[in-house]
């Protein structure tokens, strides 16, 4: 984990309320899909806390982040432009684990849960990606996603504007039941989706990892703000996760 100043190279809309942020990142550092960075938007004291963003890609002096406007801080970020400066603390947290050789892989992403899952699919270059969104216009960079080597992609939208109409779950169930145990599931998205994906995985005896979200104070394990309840007791989303074995999570209602 290092804290470094980065210039914005690009910050452009790629779908409804969704932006692609590219930062010049000069440090050489290892990372793995599922890890994240904490961005400090301003030297001023408001907004005060940094915000967590999943790493889409990091290398060749570039850090790529895909984000959706969800509050005041992301709104501010969306109005920043080329050349402006951000402070980047990272890479943070524990990313997804490796699948076993020859194991079938299913990636499930809902809404803006896409980045960590997409990052993993791009690194592993095999498996099935099911991507859900409210509507066609909310899916970023579809052409790029469709072209990932070795990845079969299926889409579902709530309004049926592209792919199957409805959620990612029916397609996911079909795939999991087809593969049976010995397949590996990686998921990120809204909590109701994660709960369903994890339930279906467990019922089918399939290993599932979910990338969790929680409000964060620090992002590196010192404030204990981002707690998640697991069968092993309290865990920190920022340090013990964000990627967790789904069978260990005690979901909040």
């Amino acid at each position: 984990m290092i804290d470094t100043n980065c210039h914005i190279l690009e910050n452009r809309p790629v779908a409804v309320n969704t932006f692609m942020l590219v930062l010049e990142y000069k440090k050489k550092i290892d990372w793995w899909p599922g890890q994240f960075v904490m961005l400090r938007l301003t030297e001023a004291l408001d907004p005060f806390l940094r915000r967590p963003f999943s790493i889409l890609d990091l290398g060749d002096n570039r850090l790529e982040i895909l984000y959706r406007i969800r509050g005041r801080a992301t709104n501010m970020l969306s109005r920043m432009g080329k050349g402006e400066n951000l402070k980047v603390l990272g890479p943070l947290g524990k990313g997804f684990s490796m699948p076993r050789d020859n194991e079938e892989i299913i990636y499930v992403a809902g809404g803006i849960g896409l980045p960590p899952v997409l990052a993993l699919a791009r690194v592993l270059k095999r498996g099935h990606l099911i991507l859900g969104a409210k509507t066609f216009r909310e899916i970023p960079m579809l052409d790029r996603i469709k072209d990932i080597d070795g990845i079969e992609i299926a889409l579902a939208t709530e309004d049926g504007s592209i792919g199957e109409k409805g959620t990612v779950i029916p397609r996911f169930e079909k795939l999991v039941e087809g593969f049976g145990p010995g397949c590996m599931v990686y998921a990120c998205g809204p909590t109701p989706m994660l709960k369903r994906v994890s339930k279906v995985s467990i019922e089918n005896g399939v290993m599932c990892e979910v990338s969790m979200e929680e409000r964060m104070g620090c992002g590196f394990g010192v404030c204990h703000g981002c707690t998640v309840n697991t069968l092993d007791g309290n865990r920190l989303v920022c340090k013990d996760g964000p990627c967790f074995d789904a069978s260990k999570i005690i979901w909040r209602t």
């Binding site: 004291l45 620090c218 703000g225 981002c226 707690t227």
Partner: protein
């Protein structure tokens, strides 16, 4: 140039900057990004006799120039701390101040006596955490209860006792005087302020615990006033806590009468801020030809 100061017997600091309890865990994460031996003192997270889970999430939320937390004093307990964390912290050769609390007189006393070991230089009593329904608040709210508590704890330990006061306007000076009379060696002023956040879209409280404590630059001017008010009435050293984010803030608190400071929320946002603040102090003293940090304490001009 001399940044060192003495808070109490056995509590000599190389500089006046420490971390605040609860924003530093037990030091391991910070030690990965800077050398903890630069610190004036180290204060691990508040300890209770046994381990505690704290409150459910969400338990932290942004506020204007600060944050509200309802962690609920989650911690590993005194014994686990002594066994697993203290040996690591001792390695930095910096004074260690153990912050602790209890839900009863007996728990406070038992914690204090177990924490009276080599390697711990002082005890900071948290009598003011506004997060825990059954915890701290009552002890720090009532003059009589507070002085009984301080007296009993003093009896059970040879370590200097620092009382961390609750931020309640007006009465804080009374509480400070009561703590001093009961034998406190120093005061920390203050803790987080009672606060709340509500989501206007869902009509729900943002924190699962409904209420929490406000910290960060938002509370700095109020904390500064508390330090000043107390400084004019008590004789024991004051350690300031509340929104300190730069060396300039440190100078202001020293002028108001604090001998040392704690930095909490700011280090969540900028984990390297301790280094910047200490270096800033040095540069300030050089620029203004100030020989000793003690020459600033309480020197507010009229």
């Amino acid at each position: 140039m001399d940044l060192s100061l003495n808070i109490a017997d056995g509590l000599m600091l190389n500089n006046p900057v420490m971390n605040a309890s609860g924003t530093f865990a037990y030091g391991r994460e910070f030690s990965e990004i800077f050398d903890l031996s630069i610190m004036g003192a180290l204060i691990p997270k508040a300890l209770s006799l046994g381990p505690r889970q704290g409150n459910p999430a969400p338990r932290i939320v942004e506020a204007p120039c600060g944050l509200i937390n309802s962690i609920g004093l989650e911690n590993i307990g005194v014994d686990a701390f002594l066994k697993r964390e203290l040996p690591f912290l001792k390695g930095f050769k910096v004074p260690i101040i153990a912050n602790f609390f209890g839900e009863s007189f007996e728990e406070y006393i038992e914690c204090a006596s177990r924490l009276t070991v080599d390697g711990i230089n002082a005890l900071e009593m948290n009598v003011s955490c506004p997060n825990v329904k059954s915890g701290g608040l009552e002890f720090g709210r009532d003059k009589k209860v507070l002085s009984d508590l301080v007296r009993m704890v003093k009896d059970k330990t040879t370590k200097p006792i620092i009382v961390k006061l609750p931020p309640i306007g007006g009465d804080i000076v009374e509480l400070a005087l009561a703590a001093q009379k009961a034998g406190a060696d120093a005061l920390t002023c203050a803790n987080t302020f009672p606060a709340m956040a509500i989501d206007e879209e869902t009509w729900k409280p943002t924190l699962a615990n409904y209420v929490g404590g406000l910290s960060g630059p938002a509370i700095k001017p109020i904390a500064l006033r508390f330090v000043w008010d107390i400084h004019t009435k008590v004789d024991i050293p004051i350690i300031a806590s509340g929104g300190i984010s730069s060396y300039r803030d440190v100078i202001q608190f020293l002028l108001a009468g604090a001998s040392a400071v704690q930095v909490g929320s700011m280090s969540l946002r900028d984990p390297l801020c301790f280094k910047e603040i200490i270096e800033g102090l040095r540069a300030y003293m050089a620029l203004h030809h100030i020989e000793s940090i003690n020459d600033i304490v309480g020197k507010l001009r009229s």
